[in-house]
Symmetry: C2
Subunit: 405 residues, 2 copies
């Protein structure tokens, strides 16, 4: 049985209160160049509200008296401005002094950072701030690095001001910043706010719409990330995303045959390199005939930059071929042909099918011997044709001449 | 931009295969008392299939020759039995040799353990096992410590056998064990299975039905746990679950007054200890009158074990009071009364309301002086009554006698 964890520490009670004064002192010392600026937990630029831009230690060496005055005035004005870095997976944020009313002229920023693969969900259980036109006096502002997600103030939503109510603010990424600000005069006593945040898992399998990043076959979401896997018979490519096939070891030794891209006529696998070897005895010549359905990813300007077929016949290389128009029939003039088919990591194309035929070289003209005959009797003979030479009765074969070995 | 993580390592290829033989050797050595049994990662009893019960090193000392024979036979029979401990938040499980067909006479158990606050989700992307009546030959069995969650075999679901199909197996707790077993003869070649598991967060806020464990006011689920918080004006008790109020500092000094339990007539807060002090000058006597609506959690046999009122008046202690019947009117005979109201961490009761009245002690009989009068003229006077004594014209007051100071 699991019991609830202690709730996250109230950041603005007890030690939190003390640190407002400490923060003001620290800001002052930093501005005077007497102390190092704090390093932000988790990397990134130090971010301290209340430290004016360009107020670094270099300028401090130039005009220390001006700086001291400026720093003092600034610090008195913004005595309560401070920043809290939060890196936990959940927590609670409350206005200073909560549940007592918040002080005037206060500013606190909470920077919430969760690991990549998570978003931040923020919602309010209590909200009671001074109302002002467009929240220009007191407000709670929720932001990312470059976008304001929400600005809240008041006690109830009006035409121009919004309270959070039951609303949940969800960060698009793994960072969210919440700023509370009160102006110089709080005539009524406002009790502030009580907010809670937590990391929520991003379901990359549902949200990835970019084909370049989503899984080719199966996507498995887990808390904090995702991974891809492939259908039976496929192998995950080293890009961890596309599914290739093992197709580099195809040998054809028959005189005729059919060769297709993998899964034809379904789209061929991505990230694959297929090799088809047609190997016949010397004396044959292979010709290739592509079928009409021919569909290999191409490009309008660059020739076959993604997927292609290349054909190597003896010393000749044909191709690359791609697009939707099948190549013309090819007489390779070779008994040994290698067909290389390569696909990249994107695209859905149906592939190709070809039939090949190996014809033997033509033999020199063949005449039946005197007092004999040749069976079968043909106009021409080619490599590997077999003939039966027989003699008329009373004669015998002395020498076979002019027939291929 | 986030790219997919490399998928979890295939546990039954490469090193996994080698370890089957290593495991058999290790089991043999353990049974012979020549090697220590492995300690299970994450605590608990070592669990090695193939080691017979009662085959510890003590018995090894008794009859080593018998043990050696037994161990050898057993090891040969169960050469492939081994156990894999998985402690990651996600991963992949495949039959031995996947995607090639699995070997005969093989047994592998994967023990998946995730942190508390999570469950384990298991599903199959490929499943192809020998079918047998009630899966008695080859099977995949999914279990917890004490419960079989599913048994799968075959290639398609029948009346007596079940394949996982799209089914997702969810563990009730944070442990799941998956066992694959093949029998001695696989005449056909079965390609086995490809399964994936991942930790899923338990939403304790939705699933906690036990009042003793759920949050009194607000529940906040986060990945891996939950915490409670309270409505504005309440304080979370140190039990991290119930919401109490601060009510120990109530002082009543008027002669009459109304006192109620917090939030009356709404249910009073849990885990609270309220103290109401009625303090009047010595000479007064406080009487208490409870109203009809009176509702304090009670018990049919034990007197007021949970919530109660106790009243301390001088040296007397009255109560505890609880239940649904208001106590009779109480004359405390004291000018100083403490009412203690205590509530425990459960129950929904409406509480109580009382009115008190402080009457002064009665004064001795008072007669108007001769040649004078008392105003106002009453039958009796009590403490703190004020009278005006005036003399008839021509007389003057010499001594005030018999009036309380």
């Amino acid at each position: 049985m699991q019991t609830p964890r202690p709730p996250p520490e109230d950041l603005d009670k007890g030690p939190g209160h003390a640190s407002i004064a400490q923060e003001a002192l620290r800001v002052l010392l930093v501005q005077m160049g007497l102390r190092e600026a704090p390093r932000r937990v988790g990397g990134g630029e130090p971010r301290t509200e209340g430290s004016g831009s360009g107020m670094g230690s270099e300028r401090a060496k130039e005009k220390p008296w001006l700086l001291l005055c400026h720093a003092l005035c600034f610090s008195l004005l913004k005595a309560s401005a401070h920043t809290v870095e939060l890196n936990d997976m959940f927590g609670q944020i409350q206005s200073p002094g909560y549940p007592d009313s918040y002080p005037s002229d206060s500013e606190v920023t909470w920077n919430i950072t969760v690991p990549e693969g998570f978003r931040i969900k923020l919602y309010f259980m209590h909200f009671n701030l001074e109302s002002s036109y467009l929240c220009e006096y007191d407000y709670v502002k929720v932001e990312t690095e470059d976008q304001v997600l929400a600005t809240f103030c008041g006690r109830e939503t009006t035409d121009t001001e919004q309270t959070p109510g039951q609303e949940v603010v969800l960060s698009p990424g793994s960072f969210m910043s919440v700023t509370f600000r009160s102006d110089f005069s709080n005539e009524e006593r406002y009790t502030g706010f009580d907010a809670h945040y937590m990391a929520v898992d991003v379901d990359e399998c549902k949200e990835r719409e970019d084909e370049e990043l989503s899984c080719d076959h199966y996507c498995h979401n887990y808390i904090g990330g995702y991974y891809c896997s492939c259908r039976f018979g496929y192998i995950l490519h080293t890009d961890n995303r596309t599914c290739r096939v093992e197709c580099s070891d195809n040998l054809f030794t028959q005189r005729t045959g059919l060769i297709t891209s993998p899964d034809y006529p379904n789209p061929y696998p991505k990230s694959s390199e297929c090799l088809y070897n047609i190997e016949l005895e010397e004396g044959f010549m292979v010709s290739l005939q592509f079928e009409d359905i021919f569909d290999i990813e191409d490009h309008p300007e660059v020739p076959c930059p993604y997927d292609y077929i290349k054909i190597k016949a003896g010393a000749k290389v044909l191709g690359p071929f791609c697009g939707e128009k099948a190549p013309e029939p090819i007489s390779t003039q070779s008994h040994s042909v290698q067909i290389l088919f390569r696909s990249d990591n994107s695209g859905e194309n149906r592939g190709w099918r070809l039939s090949y035929r190996a014809a033997g070289n033509e033999c020199p003209e063949l005449q039946p011997p005197v007092h004999g005959k040749i069976e079968p009797l043909q106009a021409t003979y080619s490599f590997k044709d077999q003939v039966l030479i027989s003699c008329d009765t009373g004669y015998k074969v002395l020498k076979v001449q002019g027939l291929p070995g």
